[in-house]
């Protein structure tokens, strides 16, 4: 059976996610080789994220390494959960890199969310869908008005609070808050449309 290019990408993503989950099950059984394979599969994206946040490659590698050591220790928990291990890796890497970056800048640590986020992480099929529509979603991010996009980048990749963003941009706090909220609202609406949970057109 022939697949269209988008089908091929979809099946590729499905295989990748299924592979990640299958490897996770083996990691939970303490198979070091499986962790190495999971690292090879997901590592490039995670290292890319860490490098976007941390200017020093060694520091970025250490962050990714620590995330995988943590996964090794918590693998049983993740293997029995319903969430995507790839999503957990992405968010944990971002947060760990931001924590380090803020410490380097001698900024206070950011507050932690109220509970174990694992219960709220994307499910496996949702993460596959996100990956499958990656190119389209990237276009959506690029459609953000420039000021919104810049403010969101400062929040996501610099780990700045809204007050710090206001200082960085030399703008009033209220304007920055409005910009950030408008940017997120835009993404939320577009994400719903792209993911098929809302009947809006892009």
């Amino acid at each position: 059976m022939w697949h269209s290019p988008s089908d091929t990408i979809f099946w590729g993503m499905m295989v990748q996610e299924q592979t990640a989950e299958a490897l996770l099950a083996r990691v939970a059984k303490r198979e070091e080789g499986a962790l190495g394979k999971l690292y090879a599969l997901c590592g490039p994206r995670l290292l890319g994220t860490a490098l976007r946040i941390l200017p020093n490659r060694r520091a970025a590698e250490e962050v990714v390494e620590n995330v995988f050591v943590r996964l090794w220790n918590e693998a049983r928990h993740h293997a029995h959960a319903n969430h995507s291990v790839a999503a957990w890796l992405v968010i944990t890497t971002r947060n760990a890199a931001i924590k380090r970056r803020r410490a380097e800048r001698q900024l206070p640590a950011l507050p932690r969310p109220f509970q174990d986020l694992c219960f709220r992480l994307p499910r496996r099929e949702e993460f596959v869908q996100l990956e499958e529509r990656h190119d389209l979603l990237k276009k959506v991010v690029n459609q953000l008005p420039r000021p919104q996009r810049h403010a969101l980048e400062l929040a996501v990749f610099e780990g700045y609070t809204e007050m710090e963003i206001a200082e960085e941009l030399g703008e009033p706090l209220g304007r920055v808050q409005a910009t950030l909220r408008a940017g997120m609202r835009f993404l939320r609406h577009r994400l719903r449309a792209v993911m098929g949970t809302w009947a809006a057109s892009i």
């Binding site: 303490r30 070091e32 962790l35 190495g36 690292y39 090879a40 590592g43 490039p44 994206r45 290292l47 890319g48 994220t49 490098l51 976007r52 590698e61 990714v64 390494e65 995988f68 050591v69 090794w72 999503a87 992405v90 968010i91 971002r94 931001i98 950011l110 507050p111 969310p113 109220f114 509970q115 986020l117 709220r120 992480l121 994307p122 949702e126 993460f127 996100l130 990956e131 990656h134 979603l137 990237k138 991010v141 969101l152 929040a155 996501v156 780990g159 700045y160 609070t161 809204e162 007050m163 963003i165 950030l180 909220r181 997120m184 609202r185 993404l187 939320r188 994400l191 719903r192 993911m195």
Partner: protein, 76 residues
């Protein structure tokens, strides 16, 4: 007052971007188990994944992988 006004804050709450007052308000509300806000929080994790995934993948260093596996071996 309903909690609809929190809808714009979930992603910023998870990112740690909100000021202390707003962050505490979101956290306190979520602790009460509001189903629509917990669903919003779930959607917010997708958006954070989306934003984080816009980066270019980086080439892995084989020495780094070996170091990781050595660390595991020591712990096992």
């Amino acid at each position: 007052m309903g909690c609809q006004y929190l809808e714009d804050l979930y992603e910023l709450y998870l990112l740690g971007t909100l000021g202390e007052e707003d962050s505490a308000a979101v956290g306190e509300h979520l602790k009460r188990g509001c189903p629509s806000c917990l669903a919003g929080l779930h959607e917010a994790t997708l958006i954070i994944c989306l934003l984080t995934q816009t980066v270019r993948p980086a080439r892995l260093n084989s020495k780094h992988k070996s170091r990781l596996l050595r660390r595991l071996h020591k712990r096992t």
